[in-house]
């Protein structure tokens, strides 16, 4: 019997070990991705699978001539430009506060983390029916104390602001990762800084933040991807059905794709919309990666 070479044996072991993941990845990620890409070049309308015809780049051309799609894309960028930095600052600030050795720290950590583990439908319904509502809503009452309002939180002027407010409320999701990062900052650095007489702000900007940049980088990247793909919250703010159409200021790009596919049965066009978003996300990620060399600090020198 032929002896199996050690390298081959290692390869077999490797592939056997990753087989469960690989099978799931091939079946439920790669295959749908490639199949969706193929469909984006057809005239698929949800009922003509056996009678498809290729339409070339027509669906992709339509994406760029579709005013709703381009408007939604611009709006999504605006949302991301505000939401990602805001979410980062909030989560990081909370993590810094919660990193102090104070009584009841665990309780506060739980409280700030709860919004991020609550289902989107629960949080959105709560915001919509209790805080944003125009008939005795909590936000109107709060600003009423200052003699302001009432305001239509879900109308044309404030809907985007409300969406950002609601998203910021859930920003605590990043806290845990920041806290883990903060635990990784060696105490010796703070001790030597204290001996040198460094103030809190100096320690924060010279030690904590530089050493936390890899974690910030990870959260920013995930934040960008998540924000560009945002669709459930605007839909739920609009109504209680998945096909409810949000008003223009919160009509984001993936909402448009969702509408095209499930309301209009424009499956092929929807695939094209999503592939365009995929490429945009990929490019943005690459840009963020490139800039990371300028601001992300790796203890091993980035190797």
């Amino acid at each position: 019997m032929k002896q199996i070479k050690p390298t081959t044996r290692r390869s077999i072991a490797f592939y056997l070990m990753i087989a469960p993941w690989l099978l799931v990845f091939l079946s439920f990620s790669l295959f749908p991705l490639v199949y969706g890409f193929y469909l984006s070049f057809t005239n698929y309308f949800g009922f003509n699978l056996e009678d498809l015809s290729l339409v070339g780049l027509k669906n992709y051309q339509n994406v760029f001539s579709d005013k709703d799609a381009m408007g939604a894309l611009g709006r999504t960028f605006l949302f991301a430009v505000i939401n990602v930095p805001l979410g980062t600052v909030i989560a990081l600030s909370l993590a810094l506060l919660l990193n102090h050795n104070i009584r009841g720290r665990g309780v506060f950590r739980t409280i700030f983390y709860i919004p991020s583990i609550m289902p989107a439908i629960v949080t959105t319904m709560m915001w919509k029916n209790i805080l944003f509502t125009g008939n005795g809503g909590i936000l109107d009452r709060i600003i009423g104390v200052f003699g302001l309002g009432p305001v239509n939180w879900l109308g044309y002027d404030y809907a985007l602001f409300s969406l950002i407010l609601m998203s910021s409320w859930g920003a605590g999701g990043g806290i845990l990762i920041y806290l883990a990062g903060l635990k990784g900052v060696p105490d010796e650095l703070y001790e030597s800084a204290a001996i040198d007489g460094a103030s809190y702000m100096q320690r924060l900007f010279r030690i904590t933040l530089p050493l936390l940049t890899p974690v910030i980088f990870f959260n920013v990247l995930m934040g960008i991807i998540g924000t560009l793909q945002q669709y459930l919250q605007p839909i739920l703010l609009a109504g209680d059905q998945l096909l409810a159409r949000p008003i223009k200021p919160i009509y984001l790009y993936v909402v448009h794709a969702f509408q095209q596919i499930f309301a209009n049965q424009r499956f092929a066009y929807g695939m094209a919309l999503l592939w365009v978003l995929f490429i945009i996300t990929l490019l943005l990620t690459l840009v963020v990666f490139k800039t990371s060399r300028l601001w992300v600090f790796y203890e091993d020198g980035g190797d």
Binding site: Q241, R245, A263
Partner: protein, 473 residues
């Protein structure tokens, strides 16, 4: 060697993929349902989709999959059916609009499907999704076609006209969905007399009356005049369609290949309901009151609500409302000024058989039983909707004065229930979101009436032309 291993893995993955695409077949255990939120349509209230798990089918049993869930088809009833038909096993699958689209897209849809007859039948027939049931219907010993109420013909379609051509399904029950219910306490609060329950008001009269019924305390509205059950009080695609029917107008061309929303009748409709929004007669996006119309109505904070007979079941079934049924009653479906009286159904929830079903005979057996057998009597007695058969009308609840008033108005409404809402089969489910896209900026004064009507026309025609080009190759 590495390549060989990779090839084996790829091969395995293909097997997994193939297995994913396999339809449930004989003898296989089929997990029935995924929990989803039921699609909310006008007559859905009170019915929730529940998770159901089916027992494994026997060797010689045919599995029939249906989307009618526990709220509309109890397991006990199904057990009875299966006892009487030992060769058939019925599995319930919860499906919402998005899942339905996916199942149809992958040609894996259940055999007997729930649908909103008014909107879905023309669309599904045009897309060849619904099975022609003409032969089954005409030869059935369970379903007497002559006993069916005219409204049931909404499940017939000849390619251009609803109510003509072959049968494609039947309603499980239906309602005169554009009628009104009143809350007498609210009328008393506003010192206004109840309108006639024999003569319909015009929609303009309804809005004017609603304005008078609004009560404010300072800046806060404590009582509204008019609500919708699940939607804000604002222009809606559903209500436009009834308005068109009463006005005798159709926005589609004869061949349905184009639509024109710039007609004066649309202008009248939009102007009227924009006035309703601005006059604050009910919760709407501009006043941003998120309270549901039904909650307001039952809580004596809204004087009238646009809804059909099924809502009487809601009143009987609601703990708070059932204690004060004497406060409530039904008013006839309003009409357009100068138009004709019509009391159509706005949904007619029912079912059809999937054209690709592998078991048409067994699917029909189940269909015939559900739409013509014992479940029909149960549904009629429950008072949650009107029966399909004239002979079953007397089974509707007639116990107290409320039941009797609603029954009397309903019988009168039946005389005007033979007209069908004009549907463009190529526009399909795209109609409502398209309408909302343009109505939202209009009621927020971000678009003019002309822009709104032209925008609707352009969008509708784009959708229609795409669909026509796919269907006609």
């Amino acid at each position: 060697m590495k390549k060989r291993i990779l090839a084996v893995l790829l091969g395995l993955s293909m097997i997994v993929l193939a297995a994913c695409g396999t339809k449930p077949t004989l003898g296989g255990q089929t997990t029935a349902a995924e929990k989803t939120t039921a699609a909310e349509k006008p007559d859905d209230a009170g019915e929730t989709a529940e998770e159901t798990t089916a027992a494994p089918a026997g060797e010689d049993q045919v599995v029939i999959r249906t989307t009618f869930m526990e709220g509309e088809l109890s397991r006990e009833l199904l057990d009875k059916f299966e006892e009487e038909n030992p060769g058939i096993k019925v599995v319930q699958e919860a499906v919402d609009d998005t899942k339905m689209a996916s199942l149809l897209a992958t040609q894996d849809a259940p055999d007997v499907m729930r649908c909103i007859g008014v909107y879905d039948i023309p669309t599904y027939v045009t897309r060849r999704i619904a099975l022609d049931l003409d032969e089954y219907m005409n030869n059935s010993e369970v379903i007497d076609v002559d006993d069916l109420l005219p409204i049931c013909h909404v499940y017939r379609y000849d390619g251009t006209t609803v109510g003509k051509g072959p049968w494609y399904g039947l309603p499980k029950d239906w309602s005169n969905d554009f009628a009104l219910f009143y809350n007498k306490t609210c009328f008393d609060n506003a010192n206004i007399e109840l309108p006639s329950d024999t003569e319909p008001m015009t929609w303009n009269e309804v809005v004017e009356l609603a304005k008078k019924l609004v009560i404010k305390e300072g800046d806060t509205t404590v009582q509204y005049g008019l609500g919708m059950v699940e939607n804000p009080t604002m222009p809606s695609f559903y209500y436009l369609n009834q308005y068109l029917l009463s006005a005798g107008e159709n926005l589609s061309s004869d061949d349905n290949k184009s639509m024109d929303f710039t007609k004066p009748v649309v202008e009248d409709f939009l102007t009227l309901w924009n006035d309703a929004v601005k006059s604050n007669i009910g919760p709407n996006p501009v006043n941003n009151d998120q309270t549901g119309g039904s909650d307001l109505f039952i809580g004596d904070k809204c004087a009238m609500i646009v809804t059909g007979y099924w809502y009487s079941g809601m009143i009987r079934g609601n703990e708070e409302a059932s204690k004060k049924t004497a406060s409530f009653g039904m008013l006839p479906t309003p009409m357009v000024e100068g138009g004709t009286r019509v009391a159509p159904t706005g949904s007619a929830t029912g079912g059809f058989i999937y054209s690709q079903t592998k078991h048409p005979e067994e699917a029909w057996k189940f269909f015939e039983w559900y739409f013509g057998g014992e479940p029909v009597d149960d549904r009629a007695r429950s008072g949650w909707g009107l029966p399909s058969f004239r002979s079953k009308m007397e089974l509707l609840p007639q116990n107290d004065d409320f039941d009797k008033q609603v029954y009397r108005v309903t019988l009168d409404e039946l005389n005007y229930g033979d007209a069908f809402i004009p549907i463009n089969p190529y526009l399909g489910t795209a109609g409502r979101p398209m309408f909302e896209k343009w109505v939202d900026p209009f009621i927020f004064d971000r678009a003019t009436l002309e822009e709104t009507m032209q925008g609707m026309t352009d969008d509708a025609n784009q959708t229609i032309s795409e669909m026509v080009s796919v269907l006609e190759g």
